[in-house]
């Protein structure tokens, strides 16, 4: 019997498409890989999204806590009255940003290529 049978070719093609899909999913430019934290317009921290960490930033109203997990980041706590930036939840895509205007803190996600200048909701 031949070395490669029809099913083998199917398995190889399926495997190749799995590898291609994983590559696009994991290395796609859209997923951000760094978080930029600003206070009063100045960059105070640039953190990579590879491992979990938290930062605290001081603003006029108090302390803003930024939480970073692999592949995503969010404002975990903020003293602003309407909590808009906290309610935005996790940011994953390059260009997404959460602005805590009352406390003058912002969190922005950066990827390798910037498809958008900013993404707001």
């Amino acid at each position: 019997m031949s070395v490669l049978r029809i099913g083998d070719i199917g398995v190889l093609l399926a495997g190749s498409s799995l590898v291609a899909g994983l590559t696009m999913w994991a290395w796609g430019g859209d997923r951000g890989d760094a978080a930029i934290i600003r206070a009063a317009g100045q960059v105070v921290e640039t953190a990579s999204l590879t491992h979990a960490q938290t930062f605290t930033v001081n603003g006029p109203l108090g302390i803003t806590r930024v939480e970073i997990q692999p592949g995503r980041a969010r404002i975990a706590r903020d003293p602003s009255p309407r909590q808009l930036c906290v309610k935005q939840g996790w940011l994953t895509q390059s260009g997404q940003a959460a602005l805590c205007l009352p406390n003058q803190v912002s969190l922005e996600i950066r990827g390798r290529d910037r498809a958008y200048d900013t993404l707001g909701y």
């Binding site: 019997m1 070395v3 099913g7 190889l12 495997g15 979990a52």
Partner: protein, 183 residues
Amino acid sequence: MTRSAIELPVNADDRRIARLAAWAIGLTLAEAAIPSPLPGVKPGLANIVILLVLLQHGWRAAAWVSALRVLAGGLLFGSLFAPGFWLSAAGACSSLLVLALVRYLPRSHFGPVSLSVLAAFGHIGGQLALAGWWLLPGVALIKLLPVFAAAALVFGAVNGIIVARVLAAPASDRRQSGPCLLP
């Protein structure tokens, strides 16, 4: 002199499994000498033996050979019950589970290459699952997934082709010095 009270009867099956496991262990040791850009990206030459055992002697024998290989490999590398050992064991277990399922695929359409590629994906899947859950929780292993998957595809296919060629070779070619047959 007192005679030992314990007697372990050894039959032909045990000898065969021991001989095949020795092949697998030898290949494991040999490939440890091959430099790898990333821990975990290895040709998995021992899987050639596991696959040949599966196709010639059934899944039970393959599981025995695989378990002996992981255990003896751990002893020889001095990593018994260390993280690397558990990663190896997780990979061996998940690839055996995959093989337990895919061996029922029709042989007329799915040859050793299919089994090898699917087992290789199972192997790296089990290892990454354990690594992500236990050893490196919270680290973005996602970024490395494509590298591991591509290695599994390439090495799985190459190993499968080797298995297919060994199986297709006439029996006289497989004879070693003495009556010991290659697995």
